[in-house]
C-alpha cells in the first residue's frame, strides 16, 4: 500500500468482533453468521469471498444498519455501531451501500439521483447539489448522460452512477454487495478500472462482497475468505500487488499464485456448501 496519499487515510476503520447473527423466523433458528471477526484498516479495500448464501450479505446489512446482530459488536473508527445493548446500527451516509441489483431511483435522472443525498441532508442547496452531482458524474466519465434516466443507460453506467451517488455523501466506508455480478467480463473489466481509479482518488474504505476470485484479488488489499453458513472468517490473503493496478496485473505470476491460494480455500467451502445443500434437499 505504499505510495498512497489521500486525505482520508485515517478514517473508515471497521472492527468486526465476534459477530453472531441468528435469524429466528417462525421459531426455527438459523445461524447466518457465527462468531465472525475481522479488522479492516482505514482506507483498505477489503474483499469478502465465500459460497452463495453463506451470510456475507448479512454481515454487510449489519454494518449498513439494515439488520440487527445477535451477539458481538461492530465499531467504526472506535465508535460503536452495534453491539451489546444496541443490536442495530442506525443507517447513515457515512456507510453507503451499492446494491446487488442496483438501486438508482428510476424516476430521477442520474444527476438528480446523485444530488439526492446532499439535498435531503440539507448539506447543500438543491442548486449546489445538482452542480456538484453534474461535476462528479463528469469525473466518472458520465458527463454526457447526466440528464438521462437510469432506464436509458447501460447497467455499467448505472452502477458507476450509483457509486458516484454514494461518494457524494463523503462516506467513510463504501459497502458493495456483488455490484458487478450480472455483467459480462468486458464490462466488468471496465468497471474494475473505474472503481480502482475512484479509489485511488478518494481512498475510501471499501467493503466488497463477491464470488469472483479474480475480481477479489485484482481490487483488494486483503481478501477474506469466509466459510459456508454460518459465516466465519476462514482465511485472510494479503494482496501486495502495488497500485495503481492495470489489467496486465492479472497475468503476473504473483496474481496467479494468490489466485490459487484463494481458490483452494474457497473451493473447500464451496464443496461443503454444496453437500449441505444436498442434505437440505434430502
Amino acid at each position: 500500500m505504499a505510495g498512497k496519499s489521500h486525505k482520508r487515510e485515517q478514517t473508515g476503520a471497521l472492527s468486526i468482533k465476534n459477530v453472531t447473527k441468528i435469524y429466528d423466523p417462525s421459531g426455527v433458528n438459523v445461524k447466518a453468521v457465527d462468531d465472525c471477526s475481522m479488522e479492516i484498516a482505514a482506507g483498505e479495500v477489503c474483499m469478502i469471498v465465500g459460497p452463495s448464501g453463506c451470510g456475507k450479505t448479512t454481515l454487510l446489512n449489519a454494518i449498513a444498519g439494515f439488520h440487527s446482530i445477535t451477539e458481538g459488536s461492530i465499531h467504526l473508527d472506535g465508535d460503536l455501531l452495534c453491539g451489546p445493548g444496541k443490536p442495530k446500527a442506525e443507517q447513515s451516509a457515512e456507510r453507503m451501500v451499492v446494491f446487488q441489483h442496483g438501486a438508482l431511483f428510476p424516476w430521477k435522472t442520474l444527476q438528480e439521483n446523485v444530488a439526492y443525498g446532499p439535498t435531503v441532508q440539507s448539506a447543500m442547496s438543491a442548486g449546489e447539489a445538482m452542480e456538484k452531482a453534474g461535476q462528479m458524474l463528469a469525473e466518472a466519465g458520465l458527463g454526457q448522460f447526466i440528464k438521462k434516466y437510469p432506464g436509458e443507460v447501460s447497467s455499467g453506467m448505472a452502477r458507476r452512477a450509483e457509486i458516484v451517488r454514494a461518494l457524494i455523501n463523503d462516506p467513510k466506508v463504501l459497502l458493495l454487495d456483488e455490484p458487478y455480478r450480472a455483467m459480462d467480463a468486458l464490462t466488468k473489466q471496465i468497471m474494475h478500472e473505474s472503481l480502482l481509479e475512484t479509489y485511488d482518488r478518494t481512498g475510501v474504505t471499501i467493503f466488497f462482497i463477491t464470488h469472483d476470485l479474480e475480481e477479489a484479488i485484482f481490487l483488494g488489499d486483503k481478501v477474506h475468505v469466509v466459510t459456508t453458513r454460518p459465516c466465519q472468517l476462514k482465511k485472510t490473503v494479503e494482496v501486495r500487488i502495488p497500485r495503481p493496478r492495470s489489467f496486465e496485473t492479472q497475468s503476473s505470476e504473483e496474481f496467479r499464485t494468490l489466485l490459487e491460494e484463494v481458490n483452494e480455500a474457497v473451493h473447500e467451502e464451496a464443496v461443503k456448501a454444496f453437500q449441505a445443500g444436498e442434505r437440505e434437499m434430502a
Binding site: S92, A103, F105, W107, Y149, N169
Partner: protein
Amino acid sequence: MSIVNSFFSNTTTRRGVGAIVGFVVIWYFGAMVDDWTGYDVLGIGLVPPPGDVFTAFLGVIPKAGYWMSWVSSFSRVLTGFLVAMLIGIPFGLLLAVNRYFRGVFFPPFEILRPIPPLAWVPASLIFWPTNEMSIAFVTFLGAFFTIVINVLGGARSIDISYLRAAQSMGASQFDLFWKIILPGTLPSIFTGAAVGMGITWEVVLAAEMISGGGTQGGGGLGFFIWNSYMGGSLEQIVVGMISIGIAGYLCSSAIRKIGFYFMPWRRLF
C-alpha cells in the same frame, strides 16, 4: 396538405387507420351478406350496414338531446372517477405504509371488493335521494376498488433497496413518502386509473339503462341506447355504442397523456 402527409407518414397512425377502415369493410360485407345471398348468416344479417349507421349519426348530430347524453355520461364518469381517485389513492397508500390502518380497514375492504358494482345499483337507487347521486355512487365504486388495489400493490412492491438507499442518504419519513413511495407508486396509480376508467364507463352505462337516468334528456349514453332499443332503431343503438367507444378512447388517451406528463422516465418504454 403537409399535415395530411405527416399524419400518414407515421407508420403507427397508418396502421391504425388502415385497421379501422378494414374493420368497417368487414362490417359492411357482414351486414350485406344476407341481402346478397338470401341467407342469414348467424344472425349478423340483422346488423345495420355502416352506411345506415353513418346516416343515423348525421341525424343525431344536430340534436341537443344526443349531446346532452354525452355531457351527462361524461360528468357522471368524471365525478365518480375523480372522487375514486381522490379517496382511493390516499386510502391505498395508507393501507400500504401503515400496518395498523391496514389491520383495521383491509378486511372490510376485501369483503366489499368482490361485490360487483352493478350489484350495488338497486340498493343505491333506494338509499340515495336522487337518481343522479346513486349513479355517481355506483360509478365511484367501480373505479374505487381497482384504484385502491393497484395503489396498494404498487406501493408494497417498491424495491426495498430504494427505501434503504434513501434512508442511508438521510431521508426522513416525510422524504421517503413524497420522494420514494409516491413516485415509485405512480406507474401503478396510472394503471389503476386506466383500468378504473374502463370500469366506470361499463358501470355508468349499465346504471343509466337500469335507472332510466333521469328525465329531460339527461339520460346519458346508456339511456340513449336503451331508448333507441325501445324505439326499435337499430342504427341508433349502434350510434350509441360507437359513441361510447369514442368516449372511452378519449378518456384513456387523456390518462395516457397525463401519465406521460407525470412520469417522464416512463416515456422511454
